[in-house]
Amino acid sequence: MKLAGETTLPGARQMVWDRLVDPQVMARCLPGCQEVQTVGPETYAVTLKIGVGPVTGTYGGTMRITERQPPARYRVAFEGTGAQGFVRGIGQADLTERDGATVLRYESEIEVGGLIASVGQRILEGVGKLLVKQMFSKLSAQVSGRPA
């Protein structure tokens, strides 16, 4: 599954960048995030509880920042497993400034296996987009200082 798109966040690029790479901010923004722990250089252990249609599961895994060009781009690789299967993939975010706000373009390629793949394929992309939307809405709140 490929997800790509863009969103505009209020605030200067450097400020958005700082939030984006702050594990504690990400813990608040990632939908269903239970925990983010720094386990090594650029490497975080993440626990997410996500529901896709009828399938809800807890996924434990790692997220690694594979490339960092402050404040313009970063790339991540992630993988997680849970009782209902696995998820793994790569993502990239590019930040540009426009009219005092920051435009975030993202591309992600995600592979899902197990129960979710076999019963949730129809809705997987929709759920993926929804989760991304939730994440950016929370990030937007973090950036603007409004409550999420």
Binding site: T81, F86, E111, V112, G113, A117, S118, V119, K133
Partner: protein, 820 residues
């Protein structure tokens, strides 16, 4: 009155169904209805990866859960069972669960045995498995490439079986042909989804070493040997018990045998009585399906439409393992390769290929839907090439009525038929001329209306000998080669001490209603009413008489099973008449059976079965000297034409051959690609019809399975080997709403090889419908100059074909919105 004639014959009528009351009131006994004391429950942990090495399995967290009795892993399976045998020269290690490596998404990795299914499922989630993902291959043609990921390293290739079968001078046929048509086809992966999933209860008695399974299995026949070998058990220590009611199988449940083996390991290791009920997702992801086939066909013909040769390359995608009877999807059709046509030369280049998908097996029509989809499409292509009518080109090539029994170049012995009459009946019922006129009128209005014709020869009662085609002649010539042949079935009929008659069936039927057919046949042979009989279909391999080929597969019951019952009944009748002749002191030839008694017309004397049974059971001293007491017969019927495969690879792969001629009228929706079936005509020759209602039921079921396969159903995978059709939301089965009104007729020609002239009809239209519908769709598309040669004929695929035919100036598609 001659012996056996019966003025109240029930064969050819449809007595009231006996199972309806219990089924409609929820009082049937299916496998899940059995109750056992202190039952333990199993849940299966399955691989989320399509191809991965198993680095580590840690069952400890699951075992720590109170109420968990034990966990079985691949190590246990490797230690406590043996790889299953495969019906081909190439050996590959196939166990009931993954051992050190998973090869398809959904493959069993571990089993938890616990005090409830809930607990077992929860415990499965606690098992820690470390997978090391490997490259995946799901497409059979891709799997054949030298650089493809290897599924079975010890084999060294993903092509695990290959035979080149040549019948006649195929090269000359193509050299001398006026016209040759060529086409590639892709036949997809689907199943017939029985309404009841698999159920198995396993128990191992350490004192006697007897392993017992209560299960809605599809068998027992050779699967009993297969399972015994896999579990390392002598066959007399393996007991299989089937319930009186089974909710469908269609060949799909044959695959339960590997799960029986897995539960057998669990029963041995953990102890107790262990039950597993397959859930629907497990059924779809991890049981079985028909094989996908990528085929290339070439057909040689003369200008007048006479087909002179067919060359075909079959590439079957058998999934991750070859599970018996695979790779027989390639070979079950050997004898009927030319279908209903007189095609003098044939060549089949057959490949069985393993990929990272669920293993395949028989699916209603086994091998035939692939065969006829391609063959009947080729006949249409030839007709188009020669600008002939598709009905006319078929008529010219049909085997003629006076040619039966007809031997095909590949060794099939077609027992009986009148194919020209069958086709004529279908065209007449469809009013073919009027259909074509209607089509012209519709085309003039810009509508896309198509007429499709499909014919098939329905092979019934597999001759086990065909399995040996998977081996080359030099292997088969070896002294230690296990040569197979035969197609037997056993019937038991007995008269109790009060003179009432019962039959015991050894086919473990899965909903076909074998009991009423048996009652009808015994009733006619013994001069009784079908309602007076008791027929048992429960199966216990320890107590029911059966043979290595017993079972309800390859449309064999109405022919092999019914022949066995007719013969057993006749033996019993002869004994009744012998006793009566002795008692009345009259010649046996003057006696007849009628109305539950033996009648001597000349003297007006009668002896009731009750009196005769009384003698046989209570007073054997009064029987003719030397006669065995009692009144019961167990008869094993075997088909004489079931011979071994010869050195030229010719084999009579089945023993009865039905015929089907179908015509469909369809219309395509230009905007959505939807296919609407407007008419569906189905004409069958299944020989003598025992029970017209049961035959009609088989025709309906076959057509619906064929329509489901052709239009809706696909066990789809993504290119990473992830299974995408894990529920009935994702795997679309046709419902009553999608059922066309069927127009059914029969042109019956009795078989000379079965006792009552019966042939089979259990798979029938399931093998024809994809061909009929594909031909109809391509006929509808013809004015646009596009064709479709892949299945399923989903609206999307049809729409793509329609779209590709649209003028280049078509309006651009609106770009799909991206992102949030």
């Amino acid at each position: 009155m001659a012996a056996g004639s019966n003025p109240t014959r029930t064969v050819g009528t449809s007595p009231r169904r006996k199972e309806d009351l219990r089924l409609l009131t929820g009082t049937g006994t299916f496998a899940d209805d059995w109750r056992f004391p202190q039952l333990r429950h199993a849940a299966i942990l399955r691989s989320p990866y399509a191809h991965a090495r198993i680095a580590r399995v840690n069952p400890a967290p699951a075992l720590a859960l109170p109420g968990v009795f034990g966990v079985i892993t691949g190590d246990d399976v490797a230690r406590m069972s043996r790889p299953f045998t495969t019906g081909m020269p190439q050996r590959l290690a196939y166990y009931s669960s993954a051992v050190s490596k998973v090869r398809y998404a959904g493959e069993p990795v571990a089993v938890v045995v616990a005090e409830s299914r809930y607990l077992a499922e929860d415990a499965c989630e606690l098992i820690e498995v470390d997978y090391e993902p490997l490259p995946v291959v799901v497409d059979a043609r891709a799997a054949m490439r030298p650089d493809a990921p290897l599924l079975h390293e010890e084999v060294g290739s993903n092509v695990v079986n290959h035979r080149l079968l040549t019948y006649g001078d195929i090269d000359s046929a193509f050299r001398d042909a006026d016209v040759v048509v060529r086409q590639d086809f892709d036949f997809h992966k689907y199943s017939s989804t029985p309404i009841e999933t698999c159920v198995a209860v396993a128990q191992f008695d350490a004192a006697t070493d007897i392993m017992t399974f209560w299960s809605n299995f599809h068998g027992p026949y050779s699967l009993h040997s297969f399972l015994a070998k896999g579990l390392n058990l002598p066959e007399n220590k393996l007991r299989l018990i089937a319930p009186p009611d089974i909710g469908g199988s269609f060949g799909i449940k044959i695959a339960i045998v590997t799960y029986l083996a897995l539960l057998g390991v669990a029963a041995r290791k953990v102890g107790g009585t262990i039950k597993w009920v397959e859930d629907r997702r497990e059924h779809l992801i991890g049981l079985s399906s028909g094989a996908e086939r990528s085929a290339h066909y070439e057909m040689a013909a003369r200008r007048d439409g006479t087909i002179t040769g067919v060359r075909a390359r079959y590439v079957d995608n058998n999934g991750a393992y070859i599970r018996a009877p695979e790779p027989a999807n390639l070979y079950r059709t050997t004898g009927n390769t030319p279908g209903p046509y007189r095609i003098p030369t044939l060549q089949i280049d057959a490949h069985a290929v393993v990929t990272n998908k669920c293993p395949t097996g028989p699916n209603r029509g086994y091998g035939c839907q692939q065969l006829y989809y391609c063959l009947e499409s080729m006949v249409d292509l030839l007709a188009r090439e020669l600008k002939m009518d598709p009905a006319e080109i078929r008529r010219r090539n049909l085997v003629q009525a006076d040619q039966f029994p007809y031997t095909t170049p590949s060794g099939g012995v077609y027992d009986s038929g009148d194919y020209p009459a069958g086709l004529a009946r279908a065209l007449e019922l469809a009013d073919y001329g009027a259909l074509r006129a209607e089509q012209e009128a519709a085309r003039a209005q810009g509508r896309l209306v198509g007429v499709g014709i499909g014919l098939s020869v329905e092979p019934c009662v597999s001759n086990m000998g065909y399995l040996n085609v998977a081996f080359p002649p030099e292997d088969r010539a070896r002294r230690d080669f296990h040569t197979k042949s035969g197609a037997g079935e056993v019937a038991s009929v007995k008269v109790d001490p009060m003179g009432r008659v019962s039959g015991v069936v050894s086919s473990a039927p899965s909903g076909q209603g074998h009991d009423i057919l048996v009652a009808q046949v015994i009733a006619d042979e013994l001069g009784l009413k079908a309602d007076d009989l008791t027929v048992t279909t429960e199966m216990d391999t320890f107590t029911t008489a059966w043979t290595i080929s017993s079972g309800n597969y390859s449309s064999r019951f109405a022919s092999a099973g019914i022949s066995a019952f007719a013969e057993a009944s006749r033996k019993l009748r002869d004994k009744l008449l012998t006793i009566a002749a002795h008692r009345l002191q009259v010649p046996k030839a003057e006696l007849a059976v009628a109305g539950g008694q033996v009648v001597h017309d000349k003297s007006g004397q009668v002896l009731s079965y009750r009196e005769l049974a009384g003698l046989a059971h209570w007073n054997p001293g009064a029987l003719p000297p030397g006669m065995e007491p009692g009144l019961q017969v167990t008869h094993l019927f075997n088909y004489a034409p079931a011979k071994v495969v010869d050195e030229m690879d010719r084999v009579n792969s089945s023993n009865a051959y039905g015929f089907i001629a179908e015509v469909a009228l369809i219309e395509l929706d230009r905007d959505t690609g939807e296919i609407n079936i407007l008419r569906y005509v189905s004409v069958h020759d299944c020989g003598t019809i025992i029970n017209p209602q049961r035959v009609e039921g088989q025709v309906y079921g076959g057509v619906m399975h064929g329509i489901g396969g052709a239009l809706f159903e696909e066990l789809a995978y993504d290119d990473k080997g992830q299974f995408l059709a894990g529920s009935f939301m994702d795997y679309l089965c046709p419902t009553a709403m999608e059922a066309p009104k069927l127009e059914i007729a029969h042109v019956s020609v009795p078989s000379p090889f079965s006792t009552l002239g019966t042939k089979g009809c259990g798979e029938g239209s399931a093998m024809t419908a994809p061909a009929v519908l594909a031909n109809a769709v391509n006929d509808a598309l013809a004015p646009l100059g596009v064709r479709i040669h892949d299945l399923p004929l989903s609206p999307h695929r049809v729409w793509q074909a329609l779209d590709s035919a649209r003028p280049a100036a078509r309006p651009p598609l609106r770009a799909a919105p991206v992102g949030v």
